[in-house]
Structures are given as C-alpha cells and as structure tokens.
Amino acid sequence: MAPITMNHITKVYGDGYPAVNDVSLEIADGEFMILVGPSGCGKSTLLRMIVGLEDISSGDMLIGGERVNEKAPRDRNLSMVFQNYALYPHLTVYENIAFPLRLKGVSDDEIKRRVEEAATTLELTEHLQRKPSQLSGGQRQRVAMGRAIVRQASAFLFDEPLSNLDAKLRGQMRTEILRLQRRLDTTTVYVTHDQTEAMTLGDRVAVMRKGVLQQVASPRELYEQPLNLFVAGFIGSPPMNFLPAAIEDNQVKLPFLSYPLPREVAAQIGDSDLLIAGIRPEHFADSSLVDEHKRDRGTTFEVKVDVTEWLGSQQYAYVPFEAPEEINRHLAELQQELDGEQMRTQMIVSLDPASRIRDGAKAELWLDPSRVHLFDPRTGKNLTRDAKAEAPAATATSSASGSASSAPAPAPASSSAAASSTAPASSAAAPAPASAPASGSAGSAEPPAPDGSLRPT
C-alpha cells in the first residue's frame, strides 16, 4: 500500500511520437484512480511505465515516496491484471495464484493458506486443480485477480480487465472489483474504455487524449464541469450534444432558441462570435411534463423530432439541425478523436418515458440555459466552467479527509492539461478523499448541484 506520484512523465517510442506526454498525477494511498481515453491515447503505456514494463523517457515515477524509474518490475511490488489475463496455461489455477508466492520463497503451508483464502474470496475453490483452458472467461478473470491479491502488493494495476467479458458478467465483476478494492484498501490504477466502469469505480478519473492528461477529477465533476470540449464529449453516454452557438447582441443563438450571454463568458470571448454549446441530453425535457415552478427557470422552444427510441426506463428523441461549416469541421475532428463514427448533425434528447412525443412530430421542449456549457471552438476550453463550484468542495475535502496527504497532492495534475490555465489547481482539488468510502455517496464533498451554480445574467 503506497501512494503513486508521477512527475512530468513522458514516453517517446522509437518513432519519436510521444505516446505519453508530460503527465503529472498524484494517486493517494488507497485511492481508486481510473485512466480513460480513446484508443491509442497512451493509457496502457502509462500503466506499463508504473509497473516497470516500459522504460520512462523522462520524468520521475515515485511509489511510496521512492523513485522507481530504474527499478525492475519485480522490485516494485505491484500486481497487475492484464487485459487477456496472462494466466500460465501449463499451471493449475492453484499454481497460477501461488506463482508470485513461490517466487518469493514463501513456505508451502503459508502458500496453501493464502491461496485458499484468495480462492474463497473469489469463489474459485472448486476450480483450484483445473487448468486455465478449462475455465470460463469470468473464472479466468477471477484467477488473474487472485494472482494479483494473493501477495500484499503496494498497488493494483488493471488494464481493461473486463473488456473480454460479456455485458452481464462485466457488471458483476465490476462490483466485485469495487468491493475487493474497498476491503483491501489498496491503491489501484484502473485503465478502461468503459464509461460505466469509469464513473462507478473511481474515486477520481483521469481523462487522457493523445498522451496528454486533460482533466483529473471526481466522476461527478468530470460530468458536470468538464474542463474542455474533449472531456465533455468523452464523458457521458449518450454523449453531450454539441450545437453551434452564435453570439449576437449579447445573446447566445442556438439552432432552436436563444438566451442572454452569461457575463463571465462575455468577458472571455473577445470578438469571436461563434461558440460551441454543449448540452447533456437529459437537460432537455418535454415541456408539457415540466413542473410549474421549474418551468420559469428555462426556455421552451419547438423542434421537429426525427426519430424516437423508447427503452422503457428512458426515451430518446433525435432532432436534426443545421450547423455552419466551421463548427461542423471542429465537431467532425472531435468525433474522430473520440472514436465515434457519426456525424449527422442531430441532437439527442433524453425524455421522460411517459412523454407522448412521437416520430416526425413537432414537439415543444424545455431547457434551462444555465446548464448549457459554452466552449471556445479553437481551444476547446469550457468558458462556462464554474471554478467556484469546486471551492466549497475543496474545503470540505481537506476538513473531512483528515489525511492531509491526499488533498493538496493532486494539484500538478492540471499542469499538463491544455486548458488548465483558467482553472488554477481547482480542478484537482475537488476529488473525494481516498479514505472516504464510496466517493459517489459522499455528497457533502461534492460540488453543489449545478442548478444553482450557473446563473444566467
């Protein structure tokens, strides 16, 4: 058990391309840190540098306060679960789990005790004498976990451990991993592609793009206060809608509605007259279903719905719109980076399943403009990001955590983010402390609900 500190870590492969570029990240003792990003953004590379399978081109890697750049993997005392599990095919499940202990020369009795303990935790007891090839995917995954937890490693590293499982099993194993991590309270770095895993597992989530760290924050902050266009588009499913926002006469003109330009945005944009508006699908509503007292806070507008999808618990409506060429180009680029296919210019609206809005019909929607994010198309910076929103969270964190080490530490994280200059250290200060169980529920430590956080002028 140990904190992991990365100072300006860079990895340049033979072809000169920096797969990981100046990443600084502080992972507190016992914290569950998620690394996400589109394919090829350097997540695995970063993880492999932590564990020592990849040389570090420059920067310092500290585990438990000790520099480990030159240490061999075996001297770092970390355990790792690989994407394809990397079980030893010629050994039984028992021997697979016992492997790290045998290498350390632990006595047979002790090995037996610890392997059986791990097997019980992971419900593998019946399979101990079988070979990995005789196991199902989920069982293999558990064997890999068993091998990771059987010795007292300083930290666990997971590289997309669930991506080979089917959806149902993935859900089960996800909660299993979370439970295990909470129980063992071991520092964990977890690489994933999966939105759900990223949002549910992590105390904090680090979003990467082309080797550069974009934002490190609690899942909630990432979702509600993304630092830039990339993070906004990457986090959330269905994704955030991006609409062209023309600025005219201190008004923000979206394809279907317009509202007054927030003052803090006006101060930042200079003379540019075209922004990108980001709106989460669930921030729209069927205006006929909006509460009377809430209705006044927002604007209603009429759209023509192209297609609706009714999923029982949710309903999605697709609304096509026109966007100027310049915005389309930015969005297409972004989409490509996010691994998306698209891009028809349409917005996704999440409606109450009770809504009677139907395909091809005209519908009246409602939107609270204070929840609209505005981004600078050139830099991608979020202009409406409310740094104040995190200020109370930061104080709550430091007072609630008690372990002073975790609160101030993450500050360097933002130094490498492209748009960090506007959010001095605050982006990193918000995370729930590692020691607090289940960050999602630690409501007091979270930023206040954005309802009140963004006031239209």
């Binding site: 564990v51 020592g52 399978l53 061999a72 993997p73 075996r74 005392n77 970390l78 355990s79 790792m80 690989f82 394809n84 599990y85 990397a86 079980l87 030893y88 095919p89 010629h90 492997f99 790290p100 290498l103 350390k104 070979k131 990995p132 090839s133 995917g137 293999r140 995954q141 091998r147 010795r151 080979n164 499982l165």
Partner: protein, 284 residues
C-alpha cells in the same frame, strides 16, 4: 419435422460409412508396404518366393544376421550419431532464428522467411553432383560432418518456419506477467515461456530428426565406406548372410529395425505434442 429428421438420418449414415471406408482404404494403402516388409523380414531367405503374404514358418534369423553384419551396425551407429547431431544443431539454430523472427522487428525479416521457404522447396537432388565434387575437394567426403552440414542446412528452413509459427502463438505477455509477479528475467523465461515453447521445439526436433534419419540421396552420394554411411544407404549394399542368397529378407529386417523405433517414438510423443500445441493460447 419428423419427416426431414428421418430423411437426414440415412444420409448421415451413408456419409459416415463413406468417410470410415475412405479412412480404412487410406490406412490399408499406407500400411500394406510396411506390413509386407515386416512379413518379409520374418521369412527365411529361401522362403522368399513362397507366393504367400505370410511366411511359411516364422523366423528371427534375418534380425540375427543384420545385427551380426558390421555394415549394418556401423551404419546404425552413423545414422543415430549423424541424425542426432544434425537435429541438435538445427533445432538450436532454428530456435534462435524463430525467436528473432517471432519477437523482434528487424529489416529483412520477410526476406529471411521467404528465403527459408525457397530453400525448403528447393530440389535438393540438384545439388548432389556439385556437393560430391566439392566435398571431395575439401575433404568432407565420407565423413560425419559431410552429411551433417547438408542435413542441417536443408532441415533448417522448415524448422524455422514451424518454430516461428509456433512462437508467434505463444502469449509472450506471460513473460511480463511473470516479471510483475516477481520473477527475474531468467526466471520469467524458464518458468513461463520454456514450458510453453518446449512442445514446439520438440515437434520441430522430431521433424528434423526424421529428415536426416530417412535420407537416402545424400547418404549414398556423399559416403563410400562404413565410416559415415547411414542405414538407408547401407541397406543398398546389403548382401545378406551369404552371397548365394537373395538379401531381400535381411534388407527387410534392416528396414524394420530402423522404422519401428521411429513409429514408436511418434506414437508415444504424438499425444504430448498435440496436447502441448492446443494448450497454448489462454485468451478470453
């Protein structure tokens, strides 16, 4: 439903009997010469023309004759020695080459592989004449190295192909997994990779051994005395127990002596090789 089910059943049965019949045919076709040689080796020399498949009376006399003839015993020694040495050299070199081809990226990798394939299908007989002259000039004629060198060079390409295909299938992350688990580089290699690679190396060794063991063309061309002559070549010079008898039955006995161990070898190790090959990948 039932109609179609009953209709397919006779069809399936017919297909089945056709494939079983075909299998039997192939086995008989390939086994017949061996059975015949076996039966010949158990006939007495005079019994050769008894116009029957089986001997009139069974005898092991031919085997006794064979093992008393120095022509044969020397040849057996040469065969074993030369084949083993050629196999060891070939497999060691092929293992290094295949490892490099499977794991490293270097310029000319494709060229090496294509060249290996070209050599593997090269008609070796075309080289016999020139090798004969060359070996006499460089004093390799009728020596062990004189045979080992061509055997190594002609089995090497195939060995490299087989091994590199095999090595490519090995999950090499195992090595890294082992290192993370606390192994040194050497431990990772011996504990995680060698057990997986061994069956492949073994398979290759057997293939290479056979190639050398059963070669006739090089053996007859590049040797002249018992010094280096191997069994397939020696059998051609066989005269039997006395000059007045047909040596056919003794040759048959010699042939059986060199064939049977090979068959047993294959049968014994076949299971291990197949098991090893299929145990390879452990992906989800």
């Amino acid at each position: 439903m039932t109609g179609s089910a009953t209709a397919t059943r006779p069809k399936q049965r017919r297909q089945r009997s056709i494939s079983v019949g075909g299998a039997i045919l192939i086995v008989v076709y390939t086994m017949l010469p061996i059975a015949w040689i076996l039966s010949l080796s158990l006939k007495s020399p005079g019994d050769l023309t008894n116009k029957k498949f089986l001997p009139s009376h069974w005898t092991l006399a031919n085997y006794r004759t064979v093992f008393k003839t120095s022509l044969f015993t020397d040849a057996l020694r040469n065969s074993i020695g030369i084949s083993l040495i050629a196999t060891v050299i070939g497999v060691v070199v092929a293992t290094f080459a295949a490892y490099a081809i499977a794991r490293l990226d270097f310029p000319g990798k494709r060229v090496i592989l294509s060249l290996a394939l070209a050599i593997a299908i090269f008609p070796q007989v075309a080289l016999l004449g020139s090798l004969f002259s060359m070996w006499r000039a460089v004093k390799l004629y009728d020596t062990w190295p004189g045979l080992i060198i061509p055997y190594v060079s002609f089995t090497l390409p195939l060995s490299i192909w087989v091994l590199s295909a095999f090595f490519r299938e090995i999950p090499w992350e195992m090595e890294q997994a082992a290192q993370v688990d606390g192994a040194t580089a050497w431990q990772a290699f011996t504990k995680a990779i060698v057990p997986l690679a061994a069956p492949g190396v073994f398979t290759t060794a057997i293939i290479a051994f056979f190639a050398a063991w059963q070669d006739f063309a090089f053996a007859i061309t590049l040797t002249s005395t018992n010094r280096a002559r191997t069994v397939p070549a020696a059998l051609a010079f066989f005269t039997g127990a006395s000059q007045f008898q047909q040596p056919t039955t003794a040759i048959a006995a010699g042939a059986i002596v060199v064939t049977v161990p090979i068959i047993i070898l294959v049968l014994v190790f076949q299971r291990r090789i197949v098991a090893g090959l299929t145990a390879g990948a452990v992906k989800g």
